[in-house]
């Protein structure tokens, strides 16, 4: 049976030329293009993180100059946020899986999808080349008037890079929205959609509504700097804090662009390895949407120390607490999904557990920052740094790894090696906590962020953190090695190694070029593991996962 499958063309072996990759309009191949590019970005950003952590081993800052240090953390932030995290799950797993999960042959606009990758590559190249050659020292937040009038480094080019990359994200979001609305297979109603799709739908709304605002904002920075427009320059009568409002109007929802797809992944992985329906499907779907919507009204919580009115601050604070509720609801539902399950512990599940732990810490420490009086102390300290790394690295990347392992058999047709994968998950989890937990303590003890030199009493936290970072770095290299290894040496996966429900598992691995030979007609509920189990027992097919 497997030999006959191997002869069938799939999206990987259908064509072999370089042009067939670079000019492909197949969403699966574009997902692979994105996967390769963002992996590269991740390691560039990671290299900078390594440089930062090494430098902070000692309080005296004796490895590099302040100027170099500032450029290192700026490059780290820009690469990780704009060129890695924003496209991470949506552009790779999302691109690959959205059409498969809804029974479509491709995204609605395949050429636009390819264009979005090229736009991304152009933007990222400009951004990286400019920051590496000239260097940019404004921090990824590009705060005015430092960025517009005082920085002596090259602000314009990286800003243009961010501007361009934004369009890639807009195009991806637009494509997902139209695809999810218009391309669902017959019978696949909204409430039969996998929660991964709901999460990507919510993400796309954020991408489409928020990204244009950052685009116009960095454009204004470029014009301010290039043509002396003075919109954000207090010397020209402008208001530098207005920039922060516009910036965070995008950059706070941007966090949801990172975490909502991560939540989507977790909502697939936990039911599959619990062999159980997801608990509270409607509530998880609704919470994705409410996070996306409420998330647009909380940006002001980044500005509690700026001269915004006291009442505005209070409004932003209360809404920020409100947006914590749907995240809590999701977490409780995931935990409840395991109740009376039939739980196994393959690598995706281990990564999902890691996500749960880290996301819990990240989310709960957000309450400290939302509490107004407390935020005045911890704002712009390492407490904030730790908090958002728990969400964006602990949460989003753990889920990304969970998803990558979960769908790796589908994407490549090969199984990854289970032992190293579990080991990597544990190493990453331990390394991550050792890196970032001490930063909470350093932050509350009063260590400001973006500090090249720091008072010696904070050294203990930084030494712990750097030690953790070396473990974490090693942990992140492991999947790169064994996943590449599996491409050649991995066991054949077969269509559905996990016994998972969902349309993507009903076709070959890797999928054929046009996904579905005949359009599927859906007349079942999502996550119907009890029914899947009955069917499997009826067909008496040997279970692939138990091999």
């Amino acid at each position: 049976m497997q030999t006959s499958e191997r002869k069938k063309p799939n999206y990987l072996n259908a064509e072999h030329t370089v042009a067939s990759w670079l000019l492909t309009v197949d969403h699966k191949r574009i997902a692979i293009l994105y996967l390769v590019s963002i992996t590269l970005m991740f390691f560039i950003g990671g290299l900078m993180a390594g440089a930062i952590r090494t430098e902070l081993l000692t309080p005296a800052g004796d490895l590099m100059s302040s100027d170099t240090y500032d450029k290192a953390f700026t490059l780290h932030g820009i690469v990780m946020v704009f060129f890695f995290l924003i496209p991470s799950i949506p552009a790779t797993l999302g691109n690959f899986l959205v059409p498969l999960m809804i029974g479509a042959k491709d995204l609605a606009f395949p050429r636009l999808n390819l264009l979005s990758w090229y736009v991304y590559i152009v933007g990222a190249t400009i951004g990286i080349v400019a920051t590496v050659t000239g260097g940019l020292d404004t921090g990824w937040t590009l705060y005015t008037p430092y960025s517009t009038a005082y920085a002596t480094t090259n602000v314009v080019l990286p800003a243009i890079g961010i501007f361009i990359t934004g369009f890639s994200s807009i195009l991806t979001g637009l494509n997902f929205i139209v695809t999810i609305h218009k391309m669902r297979a017959p019978g696949l109603t909204w409430f039969r959609l996998p929660l991964f799709i709901w999460a990507h739908y919510a993400t796309s709304i954020v991408m489409v509504l928020a990204t244009p605002v950052i685009a116009i904002t960095v454009l204004m920075v470029v014009l301010d700097r290039g043509f002396g427009l003075g919109i954000f320059d207090p010397k020209a009568g402008g208001d530098p804090v207005l920039f922060q409002h516009l910036f965070w109007f995008y950059s706070h929802p941007a966090v949801y662009i990172m975490i909502l797809p991560a939540m989507g992944v977790i909502s697939e992985v936990i039911p599959c390895f619990s062999k159980k329906r997801i608990f509270g499907y409607n509530f998880i779907a609704a919470s994705s949407l409410s996070i996306a919507v409420i998330g647009f009204f909380v940006w002001g919580h980044h500005l509690f120390t700026t001269p915004q009115s006291m009442y505005a601050a209070m409004a932003f604070s209360i809404i920020s607490f409100a947006v914590a509720v749907p995240s809590a609801v999701k977490t409780f539902n995931w935990a409840a999904t395991m109740y009376k399950g039939s739980i196994t512990f393959e690598a995706p599940m281990i990564y999902a557990f890691g996500f749960m732990g880290l996301f819990l810490v990240g989310g709960l420490t957000g309450l400290f920052l939302g509490a107004l009086g407390l935020d005045l102390h911890v704002h712009d300290t390492y407490f904030v740094v730790a908090h958002f790394h728990y969400i964006m690295v602990g949460g989003a990347i753990m889920a990304y790894m969970a998803g990558l392992h979960f769908w790796w058999p589908k994407i490549t047709g090969k199984m990854y090696p289970e032992g190293p994968a579990k080991a990597a998950a544990l190493i990453i989890f331990v390394g991550f906590n050792l890196t970032f937990f001490p930063q909470f303590l350093a932050g509350y003890a009063g260590m400001p962020r973006r500090y090249h030199y720091y008072p010696p009493e904070f050294q203990i936290f930084n030494v712990l953190s750097t030690a953790g970072a070396s473990i974490l770095g090693f942990g992140y290299l492991l999947p790169l090695c064994y996943l590449l290894w599996s491409l050649r040496h991995g066991r054949e996966a077969g269509p559905n190694p996990w016994g998972a429900t969902g349309l993507e598992w009903m076709i070959d691995s890797p999928p054929p070029p046009h996904n579905f030979d005949t359009t599927p007609v859906v007349n079942w509920e999502p996550y119907d593991y009890p029914a899947a189990h009955r069917d499997a027992a009826k067909d008496a097919v040997p279970e692939a996962a138990s091999v």
Partner: protein
């Protein structure tokens, strides 16, 4: 013990203990929640692991009752945390009436501090124990943030406007002062210390070197901000139009601080530091009703310290009759022709 000491900055202001209380409450609340969820998941993972006889999960869709419970309970708790945080913030952002005032100007990469008694210092702020201190701050270049971990306070210092911050020290000693908003290459070196002294020592320190602090500033160093403002008021010919009694080209400034004035546009505005500052630097943005838009702009002609001194002087005119800071008579010779419109 050593470790536990370094987990908190010194608790050196009246607010510090309250901030720490909220922090500790949240630490307890969050630990409880996290351990609860993790314990439940661990229990489920062990209890419901795949075993012979447990090949598939139970057929459960969900529970609306549970969803309502775990939506409502967190919501109520979170609103409580909000209220606690907000009331603390309310307190932290409203300086007491009797707070002593200090001017702070940030620039890349130093803090310039001006005491009302005339003494100036750089990167160090001496304050007396037990007395509320209100800082009025601005920046000459980019955004900075004034951060004293031991007092649990922080406020951005923004060019083109004033921000304030207050604290009441409860411990003598030397505490870190940091710039918390990234401001360029030497950001991490833009700091210094807050030195809290016994009130008597502080008085002695103030008196010891009037105008000291090693800041050469063109002969005006020995003056208090009010004196300097008074001097500038004459030098810049403000006194020509702003007479002590009605009849001048500009509004009378005696007693104006803290009042509501009606503008030419019909709106009203409260005369505070921000409005006085704006009226000096861009006088035509908000002209008081009944006066010609005749005032020349002083934007770019005054340093931030000079503007602050002028404000201090204008404020002193509203301190009551006994302040001794009457508006000086206009020196007729220096009346610029452009400033004498027929009235």
């Amino acid at each position: 013990m050593l470790l536990s000491l370094s987990l908190f900055p010194p608790q050196a202001s009246t607010n510090a203990a309250e901030v720490d209380a909220l922090y500790l409450f949240l630490v307890a609340l969050c630990s409880l929640t996290a351990f609860g969820v993790i314990a439940a998941m661990t229990f489920f993972a062990i209890r419901y692991r795949r075993r012979p006889g447990n090949e598939v999960g139970a057929d459960i869709h969900g529970s609306t009752v549970l969803e309502i419970i775990w939506t409502a309970i967190p919501f109520v708790i979170l609103m409580f945390v909000f209220a606690w945080g907000a009331s603390l913030y309310f307190k932290l952002s409203r300086p007491p009436e009797d707070a002593m005032e200090v001017f702070v100007v940030g620039r890349q990469w130093m803090w310039k501090i001006q005491h009302m008694e005339g003494r100036r210092e750089i990167n160090t702020l001496h304050v007396p124990l037990g007395k509320p201190v209100k800082l009025t701050m601005t920046s000459e270049d980019v955004i900075h943030a004034f951060y004293v971990p031991a007092f649990r306070v922080k406020a951005d210092v923004v060019p083109g406007r004033y921000t304030t911050l207050w604290f009441q020290p409860t411990q003598t000693g030397e505490f870190h002062l940091f710039c918390a908003e990234y401001c360029g290459t030497e950001h991490s070196r833009m700091g210094g210390s807050i030195i809290v002294m016994q009130p008597a020592e502080y008085e002695a320190w103030l008196a010891a070197a009037p105008g000291g602090g090693g800041l050469p500033s063109g002969g005006s160093a020995s003056l208090t901000p009010v004196q300097l403002g008074k001097k500038l008021f004459t030098e810049k010919a403000c006194a020509t139009c702003h007479l002590p009694a009605p009849g001048g080209v500009g509004p009378v400034l005696v007693g104006i601080y803290g009042q509501q004035v009606e503008l030419a546009s019909g709106a009203t505005v409260k005369v505070d530091e921000a409005y006085i500052r704006e009226s000096i630097l861009t006088p035509l943005a908000k002209v008081v009703k009944g006066f010609p838009p005749a005032m020349p702009t002083f934007g770019g002609q005054l340093t931030e310290e000079q503007v602050m001194s002028l404000i201090a002087y204008v404020k002193s005119l509203s301190d009551g009759a006994g302040s001794g800071a009457a508006v000086p008579a206009a020196p007729a010779a220096s009346t610029p022709a452009t400033l004498a419109p027929a009235n």
